[in-house]
Symmetry: C2
Subunit: 435 residues, 2 copies
Amino acid sequence: MKLSNTNLGTIRVNNLDKTYPAQDILLQTGQLVQYGTGIYAYNNIPLLVRQNVENIIRKILNKYGCVEILLPTLQPENLWKESGRWDKYIEDGTMLVVKSDKGNMCMAPTAEEAVTDFVRGRVGSYKNLPFTIYQIGEKYRNEIRTRGYLLRGKSFPMMDAYSFDKDIEGLQKSYENVKQAYLEIFREMNLDVIPVAADSGAIGGHKSEEFMMISPIGEDTILVDKETGIAFNTEILEREDADEYLKKEYGIQNKNNVEARKTIELGHIFQLGTKYSESMKATYITKEGKEEVLQMGCYGIGISRTVATIYENSVLKDNEGNPCGISLPTCIAPYLLQIIPKIENEEKFNLAKEIYNKLEEKGIDVILDNREQGMLGAKIKDCKMLGTPYMLVIGDKTEPGKFEVENVKTGEKEILSKEELIEKFLKIKNERKYI
Amino acid sequence: MKLSNTNLGTIRVNNLDKTYPAQDILLQTGQLVQYGTGIYAYNNIPLLVRQNVENIIRKILNKYGCVEILLPTLQPENLWKESGRWDKYIEDGTMLVVKSDKGNMCMAPTAEEAVTDFVRGRVGSYKNLPFTIYQIGEKYRNEIRTRGYLLRGKSFPMMDAYSFDKDIEGLQKSYENVKQAYLEIFREMNLDVIPVAADSGAIGGHKSEEFMMISPIGEDTILVDKETGIAFNTEILEREDADEYLKKEYGIQNKNNVEARKTIELGHIFQLGTKYSESMKATYITKEGKEEVLQMGCYGIGISRTVATIYENSVLKDNEGNPCGISLPTCIAPYLLQIIPKIENEEKFNLAKEIYNKLEEKGIDVILDNREQGMLGAKIKDCKMLGTPYMLVIGDKTEPGKFEVENVKTGEKEILSKEELIEKFLKIKNERKYI
């Protein structure tokens, strides 16, 4: 991508916010544009980070046998009346209602009703079970306590999956399958995410786990046993039999050894059971020819908050520990290298364009900073504003066979020939199995 | 993709609609699910057709130097008050209004306001011009005359691009650049689309062209000169100087030689000029240090109607000329081959799975019909319901080295070894440059 084709000017950022420094950089540099409380546009780079997150999720879920579909965001009232959730959502004020010529509709805050309708009447025999379908789509909520740009907005992209089984044993298997997929998804994105059992699950009834990441931007708290690293929900300590329970369920001997950590919830998996299939009559025919209600599971990953978490996790700090830029990890960065030529030097500018074209030909996405406006120093600073993990400055002194590539995060530099440069980035690219 | 993982059962379709036979197949087989007038969910295959269309558009626009962004669908009222379009859209009833805690909002019917806001105050110098940004996103309209499933819905995906230039000469260049990209996009999808000048463009003022495809499902009419093949807008015949004008502008000698054809509009390109940049004050600084209003162009492609057109264009007919199935073109089909084993024959079923895994390993997306329910005959019919272009039946008589691959559209069959089979589909896959 040539920076001259964007509307991203060289810009200085000032007084970065301490809680969300990456957000502040994105907003100050026009990479995110705010339209109202909890409403944002994505400029190119954060959008491509989001698409990379989506593609990793998509391809790993496909690998685990899940099938992608897409449900409508505009949904008729009657669908929600059927499950009994219309009035509840209206009362608590989170539903964004739309009046159409065909009566009331809503912008979907979630999709259990829509997916149950998608499936019912179309399953038929038990032979067609189980299956897990998912979508990557926008959700809408009249969120009053919006928070930290992409963390909790009025509109946000989510991956939501739904499993359909003939019985509880089947549901448990489908649930475990999605759980394994989730673990691989977060591993692939280099996010250290822990599944934490929600208390409701442990005390019987339907199992449910939250995928939590320890992070200063978190608004949840989990408890971690210092010795074993086992994490669990704070609610467990409120149980009368907490000591005994921790020993029995987790093998934790001493609850004084447990510490609270701030976490952000990136995903959730949940055994729904028959809540929606019963009220909305989603059934199948058993081997014996009887009609039975489907067992459902539901599974979500917050895509925008995953993007936000990746960004805040990628903040660079100066010698005094103050945030001063971003360096996205290579497993997710849309552009691996930023080539910054001194454009006034025609020979060097041509050299930069040659390298850029070579890398693009090989399918390696890189940025060429060919902007007319801005001095070399400002452009070097901009590389840290855009979060590109590697930088190649081509100045007056650069010799054609000796390219100094800098790892923006570590500051490490290496001198490479053109071939070595291509090989290095081809290797990094090929390590990314799903993007 | 394994069909056992979907909710697609073997199903017979009956009494196919004559106007939209593909739509009828998609609805009867649960590949599209209707939720209300103009509101649909996509099952896996049509969704992937849509994603392929999106990716072709995306990658070709990127090649032409356009940069992808994403604007919000939920937009505050004040943005639309500024351009003066809020009241207009409310009056004509096409705006879907949403009441939030922060006042009135709308579900964006179009994005000129949002993109002007995205850009204004961020361009600065003339040195940062020109640029063309685009998004692929959902649009919402309270469409009362919904039509033919994906053709005109209440909610539909669109690609909308916007160019920003310092003067009219620049705008014309940006416009021509997007026009060339469009021609390549439709060529890549094997759609025979003609740019037709809208009359408004021809009589001066701002130029505008519609990308029309001759099709029985079309609701527009264009005139085509039988001799030269030149197409133009019907409005031209209403001009007093029509004869002279046709000669001068198009070299058409005889307007009696012109015939009317039904067409569907898949894209539109438009030189907006300063309509939005003036009312919303989107400016830049000239070389002389003066503040000037930006020149804008806007460009759209209807993604869902492109999907619908591809499907209706892919309908198979029986000997009596009646619609009997779908065969998607290989340039867009999500799955190239459907492998249909007789699953009761364990040896043959294993052979089918081996072929499936081999193809998937090579990155060739194919369907394995491993459904427990359904006889071989029904499954063979289903291949035509799902639109997969090639079929491989593995029955009792299939020998391991002799696979009979059928081109579903032409009925041609060829016997291939495993290696030849893989080579054939690798070649088809690699011909698709952008998906």
